[in-house]
Symmetry: C2
Subunit: 440 residues, 2 copies
């Protein structure tokens, strides 16, 4: 056994979220809701390793992400910790192609790691909650319409304040750029991506300085500024009469997606065609999504994603188009908490009942607790020797709604004393009646 030793100050690393029980319970409730909705849409669970071979995980190479990766040697192995759930999905699908049925619908909820610069609200370990549908060679555009219904149900069931799922189509945008002779100019896409952040005037100036033709800029900006309901926007886009194949294809896709989003049950006020969203430069190829809280635009998108042409080009020659979204749960939870959206409730226990012995009745208490648990009631027994006030205080501190008191009298007459901690009322009841009240 250890000798007298030095005490190490207990602490966690910056950027690694750790919650107290009451917060953890709320965090888990959000995660459970996300999982429940994902599952209800027929997505199967997946759980890939947190550590992979660097050669595999970093097959794409380059970019900001690679610099942030937690990469290290163990023995002769060059290892990396996953920085998202998309690369492991690509590897998984390519590796197990023959064992999967397509379209392959999977969800994954897990921690990912990025050695980001340390700043408030940025996390180095955080949960991503992803769904993707992967086709083999092809994937119906109808799939793109199901995704917003999932986003809608997740955030409605979590109980978020009003939100709008914004959708656009990259093919439409590429067609527009081609129409104005600025196809293949990454500045254009980059400018639109930043438009909401830096405003139209600054963006226009940047584009002019980059040598983009003023007519093209005006054309694209006028396009982006099209206002109206979803139907009005679609009509306006149609009326533009832009004669470009990509544009027509993109518009047709957007039309189909909007029609089916409605059929999949998303109310009109909860989704909007938003021509200024493009979601990054080089990944998405068709439909793109982001989700804004109407009253908290400063939080930014709480769920984004889109359609891509080829999931796993680094691992297989097979073409695997897909569509997916990701919720960055750790950041979202942090931001909702900061914004005061999660409420003040401070319940640090899941228990619905605390069984409290008065005097020497522990055996009976254990039996009653066992019966309550068998009846599905989340139950604790206060097992320590303590004054009754301390026992009741334990229930109060944890926010446990009912206390079951058992003294010699209760043992003798086979009844329980049930105390409602909210109003302080006490009743002598049979086990069955008490259990029924606790379960409501």
């Amino acid at each position: 056994m250890s000798e007298k030793q030095n005490i190490v100050k207990p602490s966690t690393l910056p950027g690694f979220m750790e919650l107290l029980p009451a917060e953890q319970i709320r965090f888990n409730r959000m995660m459970d809701t996300i999982r429940r909705v994902y599952e209800r849409y027929g997505f199967a669970p997946l759980d890939t390793p947190v550590i992979e071979k660097s050669e595999v995980l970093l097959a794409k190479g380059g970019g900001e992400t690679e610099k942030q990766v937690y990469r290290f040697m163990k023995g002769d192995s060059d290892l990396s910790m996953r920085f998202d759930l998309t690369v492991p999905l690509a590897r998984y699908v390519a590796q197990h192609m023959g064992d999967l049925t397509f379209p392959f619908r999977r969800y994954q909820i897990g921690k990912v790691y990025r050695g980001e610069r340390n700043q408030k609200g940025r996390f180095r370990e955080f949960y991503q909650c992803d769904i993707d549908v992967i086709g083999r060679e092809k994937l119906s555009i109808a799939t793109d319409a199901e995704i917003p219904a999932i986003i809608y149900n997740v955030f409605t069931e979590i109980g978020l304040p009003p939100f709008v799922i914004r959708i656009n189509n990259r093919r439409l945008m590429n067609g527009l750029f081609a129409h104005y002779g600025v196809a293949g100019k990454p500045e254009m896409l980059r400018a639109i991506d930043k438009l909401e952040k830096i405003g139209p005037e600054k963006t226009r100036k940047e584009l002019e300085e980059a040598g983009i033709d003023a007519t093209a800029i005006s054309g694209v900006f006028d396009f982006i500024a099209i206002e109206g309901t979803n139907s009005e926007k679609l009509a306006a886009l149609n009326d533009l009469g832009i004669d470009n194949e990509q544009f027509r294809e993109g518009l047709k896709e957007l039309n189909t997606v909007v029609t089916l989003i409605r059929a999949f049950g998303v109310p009109e006020e909860s989704f909007a065609i938003e021509l200024k969203i493009v979601r990054g430069l080089d990944y998405y190829t068709g439909t793109v999504y982001e989700t804004l809280l109407q009253d908290y635009p400063e939080i930014g998108s709480v769920c984004s994603g889109g359609r891509y042409d080829n999931l796993a080009e680094y691992y297989t020659k097979e073409k695997l188009p897909g569509v997916g979204i990701s919720i960055g749960l750790t950041r979202l939870f942090y931001q909702l908490n900061e914004a005061g959206i999660l409420g003040e409730e401070n319940i640090s226990s899941l228990s619905q009942a605390l069984v409290v012995p008065i005097g020497d009745t522990l055996e009976t208490c254990a039996r009653v607790a066992s019966r309550l648990r068998n009846a599905g009631v989340v139950t604790e027994v206060y097992l320590e020797e303590a004054k009754i006030a301390k026992k009741m205080n334990y229930a109060n501190k944890h926010g446990i709604p009912y206390v079951v008191l058992i003294g010699d009298e209760e043992v003798a007459d086979g009844l329980l004393t049930l105390k409602n901690m909210a109003d302080g009322e006490q009743q002598r009841l049979s086990f069955e009646d008490a259990a029924a009240i606790i379960k409501q």
Copy 2:
């Protein structure tokens, strides 16, 4: 965008389990059951970071474990990945002492990392499912009696074949050793720990060679060989009349624990006093547990744990006694699978219904799917263009029990065709009737 590139062979690291969807669904079902039971006993969830400061995580230092730790530098930080959930718990309780209410009951289910030698059935990344109850300064012995009830319910609800929870008390054993004048001889404890593996004769020989007195060996071995029911064993232990304080205390604890295990609802055939289990050398100080599958002793203990005097001596001077157990879920799942205990069921989807359009009925299908989901039915829509046979085959391959067929006729008359995939029977039904049948 990427040019023509080299393909990296997709693969995972040895010792890192990754499952196909059907297995993953079964794995998650086990994990959910464990979580559900842990929660029903009033344990609160905890989720600590996977990476911690090496200085903190390895505060104890030394030992086999430290060699196996995944430890690396990131910038100036010396980091380690957690190798169990107990050290993070100790750090957590010491760090957040003022914010917790004691006894503190937490469960944690998460991945831990050990760079073990690569061999079949050993994992470098694996799930541990832990519960612990931590007291401040003291913790009632009654707590030790609740733990076997949790083990019992977990494994019963998972549907494991018959198992026995074996319990012993280290204080009792220490008293026995003192009685025979071999207290403080680690060989004695080590020998008992290995007894079942190497047999009594070899053990006796080893002890004799280590210079342990033959009378002491015989005394301890006779003790360990005490047979009978739990009550008979307790009576026999009492009748030994060993006059040693530790022995008397240990026996009293064991008596209390057995009495309350019964009150907490564990059937007599599911737990047994087993005097030859000690569970390692230097950690546990009172009650110890292990759990054996009766018909699969070769699997070893599927859930172990015990009582310890001081959880967090490396992080605080405060004394924190506790009791806990751990289920090594990844290994357990692997072993149950290998032993054929998990059955042959091969369902790779959670979906209860697949909605299949026949002809141009996608909008109606989307609406029906949305209603089914709102009614709680896990539902997919087959969105790809394909022949009807291929669509039905998708349901078959995934083991989806019901297909909802919607063609022009169904759209016209507002009914659905429900096909039971098990018996092939088809019926024309209203939405409500179909939903009721699917939900059973």
